[in-house]
């Protein structure tokens, strides 16, 4: 069992390495994408600076906004560096590209997740760390931020996996499911305080933004270890749930004979 996990880990690292190498083939394009993403994210902060300067901002502080953006951008970035392949699941399921992974003695989901990477995601990750450390430049903030960027990346990848696993049951949901996968990034850059009622419940259940960003921000602001523990436990739950859903769907996979290339 331990050897199996060790071997899977070794292959996953190799897969991530090759995916990153692919994205860096054109160095100038890579650096430009990273820089543009950094600038694009920064422009949203300017928006918040303006909002906070004209409003009372009783429940909001610039520090909270910086943490929010930092964790969200970092988690999104890391998720798209390591697990970007989950976004390709619809294409793999519909065009029969899972075949190549099913004949290999490794986890299909992990192999697919680590088979792709996004160039601009490096910009998100760098930006995430930069913003968090601007808000609170300390070792403890760096450690907490690293923990929550990792848990957030895993939760987000699991959420996308669960959504796309529904396509095994009916490919007609493709557009709907793709829209749903974008919800965490849309809501995750606004503070928790502005949401209430059913919407807030949804953000802590079906769309787990609460666990990706809201609870981590609370930990960064209050240093509450118990909340950190809840986030870690929820991450484990999401991993198990994503694997269960994907494997259930895999049994219904029908493959196709369309021509494909792994590019």
């Amino acid at each position: 069992m331990l050897t199996e996990v060790k071997n899977q880990f070794k292959v996953s690292l190799l897969s991530i390495k090759y995916s990153i190498l692919r994205s860096m083939i054109n160095k100038s394009s890579f650096l430009f994408s990273v820089l543009l993403m950094f600038i694009s994210n920064a422009s949203f902060l300017v928006q918040w600076i303006i909002i906070l300067s004209v409003s009372d901002g009783a429940d909001l502080s610039m520090k909270q906004i910086l943490f929010l953006w930092g964790i969200m951008a970092g988690a999104y970035g890391l998720s798209n560096i390591i697990f970007c392949g989950v976004h390709y699941l619809p294409q793999y399921i519909i065009s029969g590209k899972l075949d190549a992974y099913l004949v290999q003695p490794k986890s299909v989901l992990i192999s697919i997740a680590t088979s792709q990477t996004s160039m601009s995601a490096f910009g998100d990750l760098l930006y995430g760390y930069a913003v968090v450390l601007i808000a609170s430049p300390s070792v403890i903030t760096f450690l907490y931020a690293s923990l929550f960027i990792i848990t957030g990346a895993i939760i987000y990848a699991c959420f996308v996996t669960i959504m796309y696993s529904l396509l095994f049951f009916s490919i007609n949901f493709r557009d709907l499911v793709t829209t749903l996968t974008r919800i965490p990034t849309s809501f995750g850059t606004y503070p928790e305080n502005i949401f209430s009622g059913v919407l807030k419940v949804l953000l802590y259940t079906i769309f787990p933004i609460g666990f990706i960003v809201y609870l981590p921000v609370r930990v960064l602001l209050t240093n509450n270890i118990l909340i950190a523990l809840i986030v870690i436990l929820f991450t484990i739950f999401m991993v198990v749930f994503a694997f269960v859903m994907f494997n259930m769907g895999l049994k219904r996979y029908s493959s196709t004979n369309l021509m494909n290339a792994r590019v």
Binding site: N7, K10, Y18, K97, V103, P105, M259, V263
Partner: protein
């Protein structure tokens, strides 16, 4: 010498539920609220055994159930009914365990990373099969010698020709020394020279490594040159399971006669003779030798008026096509 079955298929079936939609926008709306489904039996109660070291052609027309069967044998698809045991393992239950014992090449689907060189791909595939670094290096050297990859082993896959890519696909699928190699249309889209090279390589693998070869192809050349046994399926059922020798012997009851005459001959279709081509002084006839002998046909043409004659067997392609048609009826 006793034979060992490496593949045992017992009453294997696979059905697909296919959604049917009426035409037009109205049909699309109707299918949302009142969907209609059709059950398609892709593989229907198929039973078959393959011996260790055999090279078997598993052929049939499009939609016959070949690829579905291969996908069930490799663990990609789960059977609806029945069971398959491949190298002592049930693919539906132990997919990962089976993967160590089989290799697959799907001519229509690539497994290699195109931005990596074949060498890096082999290293990656070696890691997938838990081989140690020195084992991978040794295996790459072996495959390099057998499949002659030296010239392009360090060129990114995206820059290789189709023939070179297929050679690399085959090499990658052999990195872990599989007992069985499943080849689904391995020569699709290749030119005749490259096709021939691939066939030689497949033969060599079977001889040198004792690998069992399970081949599907629409290319009669692949089947004729590689396989000693032919299994034909249609509508998900086995319609013929015989040796290549018997197939040719039993079904070669037609001869093709091509003649060039001094003057035009008026010949009509009659029992046992079918005129395939009649253009000025050239004739092409198909003779059913069970009804008419070749000698009788030549007499009919008048030997004094023949300038040139060529008598050949009916191409294997036609024989297989006739079996397909016969099984449909």
């Amino acid at each position: 010498m006793s034979s060992v079955n490496i593949i045992e298929i017992k009453h294997l079936s696979k059905t697909f539920k296919i959604k049917e939609k009426e035409k037009g926008f109205k049909g699309s709306l109707k299918s949302i609220f009142k969907p209609k489904y059709k059950i398609k039996k892709a593989v229907n109660n198929l039973s078959l055994t393959v011996e260790k070291g055999e090279v078997i052609a598993f052929i049939g027309p499009n939609g016959a159930g070949k690829s579905t069967t291969i996908k069930m044998l490799t663990g990609i698809l789960t059977p609806t009914k029945g069971e398959a045991i491949v190298a002592g393992i049930n693919p539906a239950k132990q997919r990962k365990k089976l993967a160590y014992k089989i290799g697959t090449v799907f001519g229509q689907k690539e497994q290699l990373w195109t931005h990596l060189t074949p060498y890096d791909n082999f290293k990656f595939f070696g890691a997938i099969y838990d081989l140690k670094d020195y084992e991978i290096e040794r295996r790459i050297k072996e495959l390099n010698d057998t499949l002659e990859l030296d010239e392009f082993i360090n060129t990114p896959v995206r820059n290789l020709s189709l023939g070179q890519r297929i050679r690399c696909e085959i090499a990658a699928s052999l990195i872990h020394k599989p007992e069985i190699l499943f080849l689904d249309e391995p020569t699709i889209g290749l030119d005749p020279v490259v096709k021939e090279n691939i066939r030689v390589l497949i033969k060599r693998m079977n001889k040198e490594f004792g690998t069992t070869i399970f081949l599907t192809s629409h290319d009669v050349g692949d089947i004729e040159k590689l396989c000693k046994r032919v299994v034909i399926i249609n509508d998900g059922k086995v319609v013929l399971d015989d040796t290549m020798q018997n197939l040719k012997y039993n079904y070669l009851n037609r001869k093709i006669i091509e003649v060039k005459m001094k003057e035009k001959v008026n010949l009509d279709d009659e029992d046992g003779i079918t005129i395939l081509k009649d253009k000025e002084y050239n004739l092409k006839l198909s003779i059913d030798v069970s009804k008419k002998s070749v000698a009788d046909v030549i007499k009919l043409l008048n030997t004094d008026k023949i300038i040139d004659i060529n008598i050949s067997n009916e191409p294997l392609e036609n024989i297989i096509a006739n079996i397909y048609k016969g099984s449909k009826k």
